[in-house]
Symmetry: C2
Subunit: 342 residues, 2 copies
Amino acid sequence: MSLDHHVPGIVDVAAKAGVSLSTVSRVLSGRTRVSDALRAKVEAAVAELGYRPNAAAQSLVSGRRSTVAVFARNTIRYGYAATLQGIEEAARAAGYVVLIAVVESADPDDISRAVNTALSHPLAGAIVIEFDKVGVETLAALPPSLPVVAAAGARRAAGDTPHAFLEDAAGGYEATRYLLSLGHSTVHHLAIPATRPRSGRAWGWRKALLEAGATVPPIVQASYSPTSGYDSAQKLTSDPSITALLCGNDELAIGAARAFQENGRRVPEDVSIVGFDDQPFARMWMPALTTVRQDFVDLGRRTFGLLEEWLAQGRRPADSAVTPTLIVRESSAAPSQERATA
Amino acid sequence: MSLDHHVPGIVDVAAKAGVSLSTVSRVLSGRTRVSDALRAKVEAAVAELGYRPNAAAQSLVSGRRSTVAVFARNTIRYGYAATLQGIEEAARAAGYVVLIAVVESADPDDISRAVNTALSHPLAGAIVIEFDKVGVETLAALPPSLPVVAAAGARRAAGDTPHAFLEDAAGGYEATRYLLSLGHSTVHHLAIPATRPRSGRAWGWRKALLEAGATVPPIVQASYSPTSGYDSAQKLTSDPSITALLCGNDELAIGAARAFQENGRRVPEDVSIVGFDDQPFARMWMPALTTVRQDFVDLGRRTFGLLEEWLAQGRRPADSAVTPTLIVRESSAAPSQERATA
DNA sequence: TTGTATGCGTTATCAT
DNA sequence: ATGATAACGCATACAA
């Protein structure tokens, strides 16, 4: 009945129901007893008015926050997007809303800008997707007063920010062992950028090689994209001693596969190629890609779970690991006889 | 110096600077003249205290909102994720923050739950990624009082919600004409779910076929995933009259390509396969995928631009189209001679 | 069990 | 140009 586009507030509900402000508030929060009669009247008024609580006002007065910020370098790439999806899913189930803040680069300006705008909103806590340097820096820039957890690409130092992480060192180790068991004398590695030394896929790869007494070839550094994989693999295609290549992700793997194939090296007859992640396209690849599956959605869910636990229990939760699994498909095989005997 | 984990407010700044509340507010908003002397003192206090304005309190009293909600069916799939990225980028540049609300299904419960939780926060406006039925329904569920714009997969009816959209009918048309020009007698279509009749990729495909006087084969319906493409294409692989297949997206295309190849039909020698989107993996495919590129990031940026314009000008903006481009690569070719003469 | 009064951090209005 | 004060919508301590 208001003249303007008036958004109904708790006062309007109270008026319509013929009760006081506080009664309405109590009915809505449900934390105090209210007689059935009044409760019914209030609920009717709420429905009729289409009343929606104002979260801003709520958090202002109660200090209770219902939004969590997710800081991420990007939202497109598979791992990031899937992690975000998992976080959102868990957050929504728990009654939280997620605010997404992409941090363009590790430039302190970009970081503090992202942090400042996000923190000006009432946050219950923050999650940073720490798959890269930007994530590491963002983590460092967040105030200690805010509950912060991380979705990490690899285990972080203990005593640090609580985090859920991918046991990707284990994945790299398993994939390398598998390749070695096929008869390859060593395995090369086409790597994504590392966030931490002595951890991650590359670390597991190295460990497997050392244990087997195989030579550890120099790591070939790439970025994340298929083109980067293609370009970086070029320098390897002419070396016939390379018979197995472990790639930091599936995109690198398909880029590398193309590079080899264009040079007349067949996959897997001449070179075995193994990826990481198991993106949806991997199993449709020709040949279907052998890869280390990482469940990013689960990682996201767990990460939010950590934050939720922290908020509920009031103390920092224990870290949580998600284990990758090797999916053997068509892009890997024993080295061809001719090479083996060569 | 506060005993507790006290978050500094405008009062603390005022006290430290030795000025009144209002002066601090004025310095921060910058909308009123303040003497340089006081301004300097305030700025020093702000820096020293690490003061951050409380957006909740601001929007509560001023009615000015700085967050926009994005409703989407999902955040993983390429088109959605890239659109989100574009939206976020533009929003951040304009000083807005984005809240992501994924809507699980078209179930009214899921929709109203998502809408309610998002709308309980102070929103400047909302954006719905309307690539599917869920998006269409969500759009319908949003209150008319809120500025809402859409990022659409195809042009919507006029007079409707302002939207930026992919001219994908044009893309379907161009791709089909291209295939026809290669000498294929007709083109089959493996479709993603349609949101609207008489629009979209399928509509353009149909138009090109009709114009050329070619027969219009029944549409083969698929979902979005590579496996769906693979499964749905199975029934086509044994039909030698099929020499060209236009797929609703790249994932379908690679699934279909595998299905054909497993059945001994070579790509492109026996069947030409064309995708849609130009996802990063497309150019690395073997053979590299001919596809219709759609710039989702740009779509996202434009969509936010629409909302921004609406908010600034106070009136609904005009729709905005993003044009796809056909990228010819290796997966398409003229039909083989044997078939042509058969 | 219900109602009244106070205040959360900020901007806007009104004085000075 | 600057300061005092009233709201914004809601939760809660306190009074009834």
